[in-house]
Symmetry: D2
Subunit: 344 residues, 4 copies
């Protein structure tokens, strides 16, 4: 396979390179960027020395032809314009940005404050939450790869909502992310001396992943709800934990919740249900494509606490994108994604 | 004033030394420990060289007499036995452990899994949440200094519960702490290579601060409720953030919540209400006795998100203890506590 | 005293505020900045809420009159122009930048790649390495506050060089700093995700503190030498360690080195010589004005390893600046600087 | 291949599992430990759930038979007794501890303060610095895998010493390591709250890797010298940087040093010489088996600064062990070791 990465210098792009480098079906990996055309990639990123001593290519429709698959990892508002014209030339397209995720383009414009992609392109695309949309992904040319927070949230909640074990109407989701989610552009929110040894809350009730979560619950869980969703910044690089709270429906036990989750993900290697845990943490999935889920019911309040962890750059971005590519090409979904988590 | 610190080698003790060292009314500071009697304190803790080149003293009833005030910062189950016999000799006693906090000794034994302190001693003690119990603290000989999580939670929620602006019956509290809260004993939960670059959830629904929070809400907020409370470990040393969620009562606005908080804490210098914030974070109180509170109402769900931050070792432990000492001795409550937060 | 801080929004400025806020002789603290005139300081820096709810003032010669002392904490190349005209109006001036440190203005221009300050102004200024230049500082109007690395290096080496206990001619200095030394402007070198969990070497043999170190050794140690000096970035916020290597002169023992250091700094409270240490580290001085020094002789190579630690923002910047102010005004040098290090 | 790991619960063991899991020639991986026999590995280490749900096996000579290769990653003093009796049953043995590294058993006992391994076993073993000892490694049954510091130091210095481009007689090596080098046993040196935001120097002139470095210089560089060697602890998990200083021999330029290094490692994929670098750092090799080297000559002092970085758990331990296994079995040395560094 001949693969191109648009936005190769961003963190999504770097992680795609890390994963695709050892993917057995990838024969060629070309790197595109909006600036620095001609710069040797390994001069900019010495960690790829000897591996990617090739020049960065200009994002240009002509140059972007002839690929089996193109990944795009760019800021919001770029691929809505860049990808639709490429559909005709028929490579598989996997977009890691939010531009094709929301089927309701009015919602997109409200939350992203940018012009939405053309409706037809949005309609043609498949939402790439692999475990819940495998069939559609396998047929789609354009994949809207999910956001990092929605991936962690939806994977842990959808089975319980769909099976009506929890009361989704009063769902509260307290999410926490490492700093790499903010990307590679330096700014005050990512300045080391003010981020290190600090824990902050941001975009309270206003994060653009809210409509994506609600859309996913409607699509796969068959419930139309509004969630309360907050996001926090952890002084570390990789990892997301989503802690969700909902009342259990009458008489539902922890064992039922665990059973439902295990059943839902039987045969899906990347979702692991951890029934007992003395230390449930982000590091247990670091560097890997796993999503681990843990759940408890508080007998004093009859509320469930549902916790999930992912590596935001892997299952929350590049890893799930590769998983989706595997599905599109009929490969085993784990191809190239068998990394053991880096617990240390 | 002649002051003794019992448990001077723990983190609570070290922080008491840091704060009391520059307290204008403290003339003598003696350091007691359960082990290492005779060791020069500054040999064990080189950061105190030239300041505390004095031997550690043995915790011994005879040696513990003659002090104006004794602080005890020891693990649960120690002061329940150690302090009651000292009451007769009448120094002011400020206990930083949980041993005298719960008025219901059965609850203490259920959550702490240790024998409770004698009922009379517990009844004599005042719960040291300074801003809410000033009068009682000023008269009490024995202060039960609050836990770190309850301090952050109660200060931010009590005004809103008391004034019935939020529906406390479905209160969810998602709390996060730096690692210093786990104390100075090395163990797997605090081993650097497994704690660094990691975020974990622990003691889900089972933290011993739950009954303390519920007791505080009953005592000062006049509501008997059960809370859903979870605790997370942040890869940093100092700081707590408590993010709480509750529906607002009919028609209540953010402005009303802010107004209520500001009014409640008018004249109380250590509680700051931050109405607007682009980055609300733990570092804005680091090293200081402040508790900062921020609140938002989600118009889509009519739920309030109430956030508070403290330095767990200062307002969550040693700082509030000194504040309580000031109240006991009729000093201005800010005496010795005017440190500017170390934002950097 | 009426005090002004020029460059109040930088890290040097923030730290001056932290220290001067509790300085007993400071009555008024005005904050000047090159931009954001009129912004309320505490809106920009919420950690100062209730403390500094005052507008930022414009740096303007007219507004800068009437102060007893002006601190300037600005990037290189600013005070060389800003301060000389203020000399006439006779406040004490303490410059935290490098603009007046090098007596040889040709050297300044070579290393800083900027136009040097007027020669007369440079000549009038006193180099503010407090322990070594007290007399001159006490008489000077303009103080060139030392760089962070030179402070750590010179304090640890000068006594040994001056007393000819080590062979300075082959001195090698391997210095390491926390990230706050890079200031508050976001950039690739300070972007969290690339700085965290990373250790880098930078400006090998090219750091502008090299001529300052060599000038200090010539001035106070009476030796004209060239040093090999490298600098490394530690993934933490505060703290510098300088590890220096030199052969000991014939027969010199560790005890002689320790003795020499202790004698040199007898009566100087901020320099502590730690003769034995199981863990010599930056945290033992964090947040304080101490410089701790530790030394060992390798019997296999007859070389001494001389290690010193400071908090780069305190003894390496704002703390030493306040110490110099104290000396200028005839106060005890520890006034306002009695903070106990934050070991935790 | 059937592979056993002795000491699977330690960090060396965990990293061996991570690397061998995707090694194409490994068919079975059995995990041995000195305690917790029978515990399911993934219960102890949830990050391996679904991958290693197998019981830990007891270290027992009978059980240790039938393997093609046995890795041992245990504390000093264990394999000196454990491995010699296994030699007869003829599996390949790769020891990650220091027990067989020093050919001079008297030196071993002096620096390690433990009884040395039997002299015959030590003599039979090959020192596993792969790039310098390939031939011997390919024939040896027992490999003494190098220490983390010696690997970083020797790879960067040996070519320059062997070619007499630098004066090794006054070599100074200032080494820095992440905390994972201290292993998985909690203690004061690795307690998060005292390690985080802290940088310390330890074992000054006394580290047990000193004789290993000197032996390597004698064996491969043909010079008998004593080095000055210090070690520092960086507040991060993975990574080592060694900064070495030596005078260049008369007239030698940076270009000659770079040329010598490049020539020495031509054809050796894991050693990369970085001639120009704006940010030379440990992250550029994180998670990979690379050793990157950078060098500069100070024209003012005619000294070279030679810097090398490795991931202490990979090229400094498990990665080099797998590389040695590849050499022993006649595989390409990169088999299973093609991970791209995790720069983020």
């Amino acid at each position: 396979m001949k693969v191109g990465i648009i936005g190769a210098s961003g963190y999504g792009g770097l992680e795609l390179i890390r994963l695709l480098h050892n993917h057995p079906e990838v024969e060629q990996l070309d790197l595109f960027t909006s600036s620095e055309e001609g710069t040797l990639f390994s001069n900019k990123f010495p960690h790829t020395k000897n591996l990617y001593d090739q020049p960065l290519l200009k994002i240009d429709h002509e140059q972007l032809t002839g690929y089996d698959v193109l990944f795009a990892s760019t800021p919001a508002g770029v691929t809505s314009k860049l990808l639709p014209p490429l559909i005709a030339s028929s490579p598989k397209l996997i977009d890691l940005s939010g531009d094709f995720r929301l089927k309701d383009t009015v919602e997109y414009e409200r939350w992203y404050k940018k012009a939405a992609a053309p409706v037809e392109a949005v309609e043609q695309s498949a939402y790439g939450l692999t475990e819940w949309n495998t069939e559609e992904i396998s047929k789609a040319q354009l994949i809207a790869n999910p956001g990092c927070y929605p991936t962690a949230v939806l994977l842990s909640l959808l089975p319980l909502i769909k099976e009506k074990l929890i009361d989704a109407s009063s769902l509260i989701i307290d999410a926490k992310s490492g700093v790499s989610g903010a990307g590679n552009t330096p700014g005050p929110m990512t300045h080391f001396s003010e981020t290190n040894e600090n824990f902050s809350i941001y975009k309270i009730h206003e994060h653009q992943h809210i409509p994506e979560i609600e859309q996913g619950i409607a699509q796969f869980g068959a419930q139309k709800i509004h969630v309360t969703f907050t996001t926090h910044l952890i002084p570390m690089t990789r990892g997301i934990m989503a802690t969700s709270y909902a009342p259990v429906n009458s008489g539902v036990t922890k064992e039922q919740l665990v059973g439902c989750l295990k059943e839902s993900y039987a045969g899906r290697p990347f979702v692991r249900v951890i029934s007992e845990s003395s230390k449930f943490c982000t590091k247990q999935v670091a560097g890997s494509n796993y999503c681990d889920i843990h759940v408890k019911v508080d007998p004093r309040t009859n509320r469930a606490t549902i916790v999930s962890v992912i590596d935001n750059l892997v299952k929350g971005a590049a890893g799930q994108a590769v998983q989706n590519m595997n599905v599109q090409f009929g490969l085993d979904e784990t191809t190239g994604l068998t990394q053991v988590p880096l617990f240390i």
